[in-house]
Symmetry: C2
Subunit: 358 residues, 2 copies
């Protein structure tokens, strides 16, 4: 187990060594580690060396000047200046929040960015402002549309955070595929089969082979197959792609650049970097905030107390599992897999630091 504060400080030091200014380094480390705290291990410190390799490959600008390039009272298009998504995204979300303060809602589409960590972090920024937060991003193509063998979409997640009064907030944060890539990685590591409906092989046939993506396979949109409405997952992933990139002028669909620096950038790009989309609704833009939040408590209470299927302990509210993991990991530390530890040791050494268990 590793202490949250130690891993956050280490990440901050690494971002400083990369050349980020202190404010950006602190923010990037906080956003990155929020994934580890919430149990989304695939998006946390395990990716730190990947971000650094992108910088080494000159695909990340360590000192971005994030700027608005187009706006209306409730919308803005933001150029991320090729910065870390971990830094660009919270700045863009803040613009959405600031717009909402005046116009009731705020909407920001971002181009020229990189991987932004977990969508949930950015959506949750709205909560302390008595706002609903929305965050989404496109990602490099791993997902085949219904009826296709080509990878055209990323796992394109959507997060929505909604405040309540005495209840904890409602926080949904999910990829628009049957299974996120992180879940597949867990099975790959253990060499276990995947349930049918998660992956297809190069011919478009559903397969339990967790390594099928290496041989021309693809992840499947939420729904899994046509009979179970995979076209709805395909619609959702497409909407995320269009809001994130066709609005902003980022790359979309098969043109989205990869996270891993050893893969070449797609030829004939249709935009700049990857794209994100953020939204904020002031809850008192619709009704008095206390009234809204009291009804959210009632909504949450009704669902939490719904009768369970035999063998299930309780009906969960979106955000419950992540909040429980966060409390546990803040108290007891964050577990890291051996390859991640090795990777962090090498990374620390590269910058003249030492990574140790504390």
């Amino acid at each position: 187990m590793y202490k949250y504060s130690y891993l956050k400080d280490l990440s901050e030091q690494v971002f400083l060594k990369m050349g980020a200014n202190p404010e950006d380094a602190t923010l990037a480390a906080k956003v990155l580690l929020s994934a580890d705290l919430r149990g989304v291990d695939s998006h946390g410190i395990a990716r730190l060396s990947g971000y650094i390799r992108l910088w080494e490959a000159s695909r990340v600008n360590a000192t971005p000047k994030v700027k608005i390039v187009h706006e209306t009272p409730s919308t803005a298009t933001v150029d991320g200046d090729a910065g870390l998504g971990l830094v660009v995204a919270p700045q863009a979300m803040q613009i959405a929040i600031d717009k909402a303060k005046i116009a009731g809602s705020g909407w920001v589409s971002v181009k020229n960015s990189n991987h932004f960590g977990i969508a949930g972090y950015h959506a949750m920024m709205a909560l302390e402002n008595d706002m609903i937060g929305i965050a989404m991003t496109n990602a490099s193509p791993l997902v085949a549309p219904t009826f296709s063998v080509d990878r055209m979409l990323g796992t394109n997640p959507i997060a929505v955070a909604i405040p309540a009064l005495h209840q904890p907030p409602f926080v949904a944060d999910f990829s628009t595929t049957t299974a996120a890539n992180g879940k597949l990685e867990i099975l790959q590591r253990k060499n276990l089969d995947a349930p049918l409906g998660w992956i297809q092989d190069k011919d478009g046939l559903t397969t339990p082979d967790v390594h099928a993506l290496k041989s021309g396979g693809a992840l499947l949109p939420l729904g899994g197959d046509r009979e179970h409405s995979s076209h709805k997952g395909y619609c959702l992933g497409s909407i995320v792609d269009i809001f994130s990139a066709v609005f902003s002028g980022a790359n979309y669909g098969p043109w989205v650049p990869p996270f891993v620096s050893f893969l070449p950038l797609p030829e004939n790009p249709v935009g700049e970097g990857i794209g994100h989309f953020f939204g904020a609704f002031r809850i008192d833009a619709f009704r008095p905030a206390d009234e809204f939040k009291a009804h959210m408590d009632n909504w949450i209470g009704a669902f939490r107390n719904a009768k369970t299927v035999a063998g299930q302990e309780k009906v969960l509210i979106p955000g419950d599992p992540e909040r429980e993991i966060q409390a546990e990991r803040l108290a007891q530390g964050i577990p890291l897999l051996k390859p991640v530890v090795e990777d962090l040791k090498a990374l620390a050494e590269k910058f003249g630091m030492v990574f140790e268990k504390v």
Copy 2:
């Protein structure tokens, strides 16, 4: 086959007999018949007598005064005055469009309404304004959250319409369940089994029994089961419910009133009527409209030309199937099932009219 214009005129006459003013009657008939044109038979003229029975039960106000009860530059809360959703919804969507003209985006949550036909109609109103349209609604509870046996959510559809330049628009319109109720009704009529993952029985076990809803069963959220991420469908349905009803002050979750007039209204209502939610984005609120639309053409072209799985003719763009059906039905007429014809004959007779095949 029945002519579109005949069925629309008949519906208009019926709404006039109900006491609607001419403008509302024309609008309601147009919205209702758009479902038949687009092939969503469960939401079209087959429901006409159902709307009338709601009016006979004093659950629909034939002469509603739709009004804004709360607003900001980019948002509004609308009271539908218990009117037909077919009339309330397009008026509310128009408010969203008008807000977007000035603020860049417009968002309207509606309380005190009724069933609004197909979500796609309302979202598509944005297209002719070079806007993206969004429409959603809650509905009476038929869906069990993941791990629950209780029906807590409706099929809560989401529609998103996005304009292109030379390509037809992207129009997604889907329920947040594995299968919409309309698909189930088709199987019920033919007494065929449903695929596993559509329905659960009263104990929460997945079942092929298409009549399981009559004995305490429920529809399943998009995903079907936990292993295939039904919690994501549950999240989506919940977000639709909260935006439509907790924002506006309508009934939510298990309190949403039924469409059928012979079922009692839920006790201890938490709001007024059912709720909808509408949004409009001006595309030039993010980048010049022609630029956006040219990239949409490129997006659509790339996906339409993606390689297909063997045996599949083409990769579809959301909206393709409905557009093809509409062209066919405008030319050749709309097919009606025998029980629907009988129902319409009785309805016409009730108002001193004759329903005939033309």
